[in-house]
Symmetry: C2
Subunit: 227 residues, 2 copies
DNA sequence: GTCTATATATGGATAGAC
DNA sequence: GTCTATCCATATATAGAC
């Protein structure tokens, strides 16, 4: 797949180096495509540009992914895989429920700020009513561990009597994602209107954690207080 | 401006009917354009389609708005004007701070659900880093009353001792908008992954109000409890 | 498997008639 | 002020050479 190496390797005959090359080339193509789709949208992305920056020709995109749509779906799947994989690293830490929840919130706030391409791809996919995402078994089936992570923190806090019992885990998940995602996704319009810099992460982490911890707390936490 | 009425009226000679016609035609064009831009994006919108649905020709868009960009900016300005105007209707009600805040939250949750065109336009504008919005004095200068509304509720609650003193009004504003906006803007991907229907507004209004009221409360409110 | 070349389509912007 | 007609640029998708 990469530049001009005339190989005749069949699937059965692939060497380790071949596989590495093919995977690296695929990764490069996906990274370039993610960037281009995120910047110009699904229809606006130029296959020409993607191919050129990945060091291949347009025809290869058709050959490997069948065209624009196949490439775009692969990019989306990759993007979700990445955030969930990053989140799973948090799950191994042994912390009390409040601290675990705070870490989770901070992870989300940071991830969206640090990965504008992911944020744009998700926004774009919503403009297409998640038409492509719905067709991807890979994405819709692999969200479970992410939700389970939040659920386990919630359950732990409830068992210890520090979190309310009447919290729905999907509500909580939505609250965390909403606050984190919006801060990054709408930073330009919100910033233009209210003169805020969403990339200044520390104050955002602070008030978002505050909101979430107070939402679940049985009694008001004093952790988030500024005074 | 509307269909095939050969008029020779100058600006000075405009009759009331002329003005009404011109305004109605402009409103039609803006409504059609808003829909098309929201659906297909800034670059993806076809001027051809907009013109046809508004009952005019492409050339007229150039004549009146100078082209795609001028039309798009007018659409954006109109969209913000509309939400702020709708919000101002709330400001006249005489309520206690908790009830006023709840009404404000519910208004926002409902508005984003009921106005998907607005939500899409804002999302699209963020994908363009608010390039057009920044140039529009009309929008950036008219946000003040909206923020003032939230500020006055906050101040009232603080004066009565029911809201915390250490709440930043822009933080509060951002929390409300984040929760409401995301619910509508990301309903497709979130719904596809977690099987939620964001358009079922009642439960969303409930937990979002709960989150916001607990955020500002000096003591935990029991209003939001389900048990 | 990868490239070059091309057939084909689309739509933006504007000139000019009325 | 409004329409018709046209020029022109851009990109997709694929056929065919190597």
């Amino acid at each position: 797949m990469p530049n001009k190496k005339a190989r005749t390797a069949t699937v059965a005959g692939e060497t380790a180096a071949n596989v590495r090359d093919a995977e690296a080339a695929r990764a490069t193509l996906l990274a370039v495509a993610a960037q281009e789709f995120a910047t110009r949208g699904f229809a606006g992305a130029r296959l020409e540009v993607i191919a050129a920056e990945a060091g291949i020709t347009r025809a290869m995109i058709y050959y490997y992914f069948g065209g624009r749509e196949g490439l775009y779906v692969a990019v989306l799947e990759d993007a979700y895989r990445a955030i969930w994989k990053a989140e799973q690293a948090l799950a191994t830490q042994a912390l009390g429920p409040q601290e675990a929840l705070r870490k989770l919130v901070e992870f989300r706030v940071n991830y969206y700020i640090d990965n504008p391409t992911f944020v744009s791809l998700v926004s774009i996919e919503n403009q297409h009513k998640a038409r492509h995402l719905k067709r991807s078994r890979s994405v819709t089936s692999s969200a479970a561990p992410s939700l389970a992570h939040t659920a386990s923190i919630l359950a732990q806090g409830q068992a210890l009597g520090v979190f309310r019992k009447d919290i729905d885990v999907v509500d909580l998940y939505q609250v965390i994602v909403s606050l984190g995602f919006f801060n990054a996704s709408n930073r330009y319009t919100f910033g233009a209107i209210f003169g805020r810099n969403a990339l200044d992460a520390a104050p955002v982490r602070r008030f978002v954690s505050d909101v979430v911890l107070r939402y679940v707390a049985v009694t008001p936490t004093t952790k988030g207080k500024k005074t």
